[in-house]
Symmetry: D2
Subunit: 307 residues, 4 copies
């Protein structure tokens, strides 16, 4: 089926009841206010077409999807070798907020940049004069690649994340002890908590997806990141992007994707499409339950899996 023939409204309708199988995140008050039944999608292609349905205009915080953005900037800032000497490329098999492997594994570094420990390490590598400048650079980079100059953080979410984020803080200090975080831990965490609190819509996320689909080129065709960095990011999204459901997701959906507990999913159809989902009802692994089902339907229709 062609993308233009896809009945997104119907797919949204069919999958909306699946939102009942999950729950919105509730570890901070702001997130628990999300509407569990919400389900929105935006698909962008390279001809400038945009297809949207459902709550695609609802704002939500980007959360773990920001790990993809920070990783690209950290590689730009430090080079691939530097980054992956300090963070691995392997799925961990453990929940996203697990600390145990930092101690039990002989690797001596976080397994990958998509689990919290790895992402905090990555955020600590972003360059800048001070912590404000570092985050500003990250936000500017996100604006540039998503071509959305309106991006801002949700201060309430940021403050809550920072206040309650003691497990992340615990990982940060562990990484400091291991020499993986070089500078100030609280600054690394500030960047991490802030990047998670950036507000987006499904449209923003679809734009991010299209940027990665186009191997790091913006809508004018300008290369912002190299095809190699883009490929690394895509690959890590496949193997590690959906927490410890990445393997099953690869079978069901089979697109490089990254989820966030705010309800977002970015998916990439290489060289073709960027897909942004908003689906705040999460399964037990922290992934948007209806959003995954919606993506599976779309892949069945469009035959766009990479596998």
């Amino acid at each position: 089926m062609e993308l233009k023939d896809l009945n997104l409204e119907k797919l949204i309708k069919n999958n909306r009841e699946i939102t009942n199988l999950g729950n919105v995140a509730d570890y901070i008050p702001e997130l628990s206010k999300a509407n569990k039944e919400d389900l929105g999608i935006c698909i962008l292609d390279n001809n400038g077409n945009i297809y949207c349905a459902g709550e695609y205009q609802t704002k939500f915080t980007v959360q773990s999807i920001s790990k993809v953005v920070a990783l690209m900037l950290a590689i730009l800032d430090n080079g691939e070798e530097y980054v992956f000497a300090r963070v691995g490329m392997e799925p961990s098999g453990d929940p996203f907020n697990s600390i145990r492997k930092l101690e039990t594994s002989s690797r001596g570094k976080p397994y990958n940049p998509m689990i919290n420990a790895g992402a905090i390490a990555v955020s600590s590598m972003i360059k800048g004069d001070d912590v404000k400048d570092k985050f500003r650079r990250l936000l500017d980079f996100f604006k540039e690649i998503s071509e959305d100059q309106t991006l801002e953080i949700n201060s309430k979410v940021y403050l809550s994340e920072s206040e309650t984020g003691n497990k992340n803080r615990s990982m940060g200090y562990y990484l400091k002890d291991e020499g993986i975080i070089k500078g100030n831990v609280e600054e690394a965490l500030e960047i991490y908590f802030k990047q998670c609190s950036i507000e987006v819509t499904a449209i923003t996320i679809a734009k991010l997806g299209l940027f990665i689909a186009n191997e790091g080129r913006n809508s004018l065709g300008e290369e912002i990141i190299s095809p190699r960095i883009s490929r690394i990011v895509k690959t890590l999204m496949v193997t590690c992007g959906m927490y410890d459901s990445s393997g099953e997701f690869a079978v069901r959906v089979g697109l490089p994707s990254k989820s966030g507990v705010g309800g977002g999913i970015v998916s990439v159809v290489p060289n073709k499409l960027g897909i942004g989902i908003y689906s705040p009802s999460l399964d037990s692994k922290g992934n948007p339950v209806a959003g995954i089902s919606l993506l599976e339907d779309i892949c069945n229709e469009l035959k766009c899996r990479i596998f």
Copy 2:
């Protein structure tokens, strides 16, 4: 570059020195007799062309590559739902012969069919009148899909595997205790040890790869397994096929692949090529060190990565 223009001899020559960075498996005497410097390749396309270089005619035992074959037959025998209710689809982040996650994970089943625990569970699901019949069916299935009627087990290797395979035996009884293995553990292990001991060459392995590349069709175009099963297998090869180096391998090479400690690698270029490698010098994770480098070179030349 076109496949026909690929200078395989030169690539073999360039990568042969990399064999020095690893060592042949030595946990059983038979494997330690392999020639560490060996490096062979066979590439098959859909037009019946065959490109070979190096020690592509050397016999070696298929070892963990057989997990892919057994998985396909177990799904044919029991259905996808039955199999994946008992074995997961997630990378484990631990070494291939690790037992810990059977106890520490809340999943209650082996993480995936590519680690030993999962593979033993899968082998226990193959149907047949008795253990001999079960293994015969597996061997016949392997012969059918690789279109190689000469396949036999190496009895010396089998006996050594069986004699020394106490960690696998340990996993088998653990799985029995968990109710994942239904029948006799020693029979499941017999099938598992025998399937690992089947002798192949890089050519056999390339044929297996082409079969998977063609979505489960043989050279006559007959569908032996469904495209869906083929897709599941390919996906699991990407996320879990190279032990706990699968993530890095996906970045470096980016083809669905499965390695074995006998030195083999099967790689799949979807809809196009089957690749068989023989490279018995292994890195610390148990993967063929020169074989991976050779595959990386080929992917750089042919631009055939799936990512």
Copy 3:
């Protein structure tokens, strides 16, 4: 208070209701037939006095209490150095049937002889012409030190243990792979399952306790094991005897003790008393719930704690 003034009947009565807080073991049918409300005790002193109350004549299988007996014989057979080169002396912090530390610890040996993995290793060290002879020697040794020539195994329990003991089997093969079990794993397991199936009463267990209290001397004052071996055993009973409740038990009761899932506890008041308990209702750690409470009351009355 003097032992002779202790009102055992009243203590039994007071603690019998605590049996409701636990459950009898049910992993094999024979054990689940035990009467949950049963609570019996036998206390022996060095003047030949015997104080009994409750179901002290009820037969039950000795289960893990046999680990103490096997350890003494294994040290007699092989020497302290040999045994503790292969089994540690440390509490593990994990449940008694846990396998994970065999893989995750750098020690390379089971933590102590009181967890299953360590006990199976110990049983494999008992000397004899063949497996029958080895077990006969163990049974004879138990008869000798408990001065009870009637000891026999409960065949039904033994067969059930053997049939369902796949987690123990899993540990056995893991230990074989590590080189800690030298001979045949199934034989080691046969001895282990048989020793667990020996039938005793609280009286037998009290005699075992008195033997240890008297530093390895029998009622005639003959030294069967050296004071040093006796001391090692007593110490391991303190640090590891009550599974992963040993620490709390040491605070509450403070006597060298060993429990079994058959409901038994042997406790030792050094140089003074041997105590045998029968209390088949177990807490979540597998320890006799009312038996521990009864022991705590006795220690409060007699002020016989070692701490």
Copy 4:
């Protein structure tokens, strides 16, 4: 042998060469300045006799021995029930600075107050108007029970501990996330790092030992802590006091003891003696290697083991 007949000088001489088997702690510069060959001892009895030899006047930081002091005060401040609802009583089987069990165990609390995680939790429970007052109360309590009014912290050590103590900081934030630390984490850590930095000699430590030996009474016979608290502390010293060598130490020495990486050991002969050791050369577990050997010799001579 009587204490007065013990040739301490000779025992020191005999054991001094054992200091070569270990190394002084070097994670902070101050500790690495200790003289590896040093070995000192002080033994106090209830008649006011004092027996000393070797470097018993050398000052060193008390380090983990302070965990015993803080535990007593925390129980005094909060009651036994409150404290042990938040910290367990079980040996963990893991190194003292391990974090894994906070995540992998179902207990949901640190295993015991003698590993770092448990000790940090305990220090967070000490009452006071503010962090200064809390530490002042702890220091005053230490002065009271050791009857040494000169105790002070070594500021250099404290600053180094605080600066480099990121693994402890990691545990602190993990405990905060779990709700085990109620107040400010940095304040809890400040108390913990300061208590570890208190300077003592073997004499101070021997006085602490005698206080515990006398069930919480000072030299005037006044009860500072209850016999029950004293018993709990003694018991935890037996099961958990020597890190993950506690089991072997109990067999070799058999006295309630607590070591510190500054080189100190406090040992208790119940109702009789307090022993203080200074032995900065540590074994691989972080315990004073010559000090343990010296204690073993003394126990062999005096027959003062509790087992």
